[in-house]
Symmetry: none
Subunit: 133 residues, 4 copies
């Protein structure tokens, strides 16, 4: 199954809704199975630097089929993937990037959220993900 624009937009909407509940200003990006941008939304007043970070978190999750924060654990000094962030024109490896799976468990895309603490970013990304599973 392929991710549809409708699903991708629904995920952005769910992320924005969750952000409002938490009184946050977020950037929400959705990529498809090919790691190409499918939908994006930035709330008024959200950090400008987070446009790129949200997109990179989504791409990073899909590039390695795991949540961005999991890669970040492995890329610390002394860990196996130290400085992996230098690949693929820049990865973002802290939390906020999560995977989208279809009903059969196949990965069909990923979501990246940036604009607050990594805990909040991850919470909003998870809410966005739930809207389409």
């Amino acid at each position: 199954m392929k991710l549809t624009l409708e699903q991708a937009q629904k995920a952005v909407e769910a992320g924005v809704k969750k952000s409002k509940e938490l009184d946050l200003k977020m950037n929400v990006a959705v990529v498809d199975a090919g790691a190409n941008l499918m939908a994006f939304g930035r709330m008024e007043g959200a950090w400008l630097g987070s446009v790129d970070i949200a997109i990179k978190k989504a791409k990073t999750a899909r590039y390695f089929d795991m949540e961005s924060g999991e890669i970040g654990k492995l890329s610390q000094p002394g860990q196996p993937l130290f400085n992996i962030e230098h690949s693929n024109n820049g990865l973002i490896t802290f939390p906020g990037g999560v995977l989208i799976e279809d009903k059969n468990g196949e990965i069909i895309g990923a979501i990246g959220v940036s604009g607050s603490s990594v805990e909040n970013d991850h919470e909003v990304a998870t809410a966005a993900k739930k809207s389409i599973s």
Copy 2:
């Protein structure tokens, strides 16, 4: 007045609607007054290379406060802005990038569309623009 996420998303929706009427598969990008991405949508099956082009058209329009195609006339061989595309990490100067103005005529953002002929790209961008003016 500042561009809102709601307006930006409305523009994406209007672009998608127009594309469906014309039986096209488009990428639609909206940037704010700061030329930063605000909303984006890619229709299923749209050209992969048009993600970047749609975003660059919107940015190009706002960078110089004129429609992308206008800059393209000036960037031809022998013209005053020959090869201006080399600046700003890459401009796209053919039609499909249009400006968004508020009620007072102030420029508050821009729209970029890519996925078909430049005439179709421009038509869809114009439809997207009309949705929020």
Copy 3:
């Protein structure tokens, strides 16, 4: 249907074989439906600058679902897509990039060849393509 590594390698082999027949030294790149590199081969003594060009030709073809040379006609001065090459981290729009389709006519990847004249590049790319259709 998805492009397999076996098919991609078969295409590289066919390109190399054709190049030997024509007494040429080529780079042959194959990307999948997501425009990601799947297989690559460079013949001994082939131009070093052609590694990147072969890969970019394959990506360019898949980015816009047409042969790279077709885009090149449209990107000339005065033509609709002038300087489109500035998008997507650099396109190559002269001949040598061709599409791979499955039995149902769906595009599943692309081939890029570089190392000689554009006529020879295109001929070798076409031979590579035929090996898997």
Copy 4:
């Protein structure tokens, strides 16, 4: 002695074979003495982000004539080559990049493997290397 395309392809094949034995999905890249890509293969379903990493591991090994993981020990915080990854458009300095030597011990290329744990990456790279020594 110079690395031949035949040798490079043999290395890719050996890497793919080893990966299948270990039930892994890998990207295998081979560069020549000039650190230019010579052959490449990506198994179906391998991580998309590993295309670039496999190539960068091979280049990194040849750039400094040591296995990529050796450089990674020196690039840690407080070590002599801290953050050397910023050079050469991005290095990858964890294991998976190994050297290819001819019968006289002269370095004629390098192999980079990415797609699993660094231990698995290194094991597959070593198997690929053995196929041509």
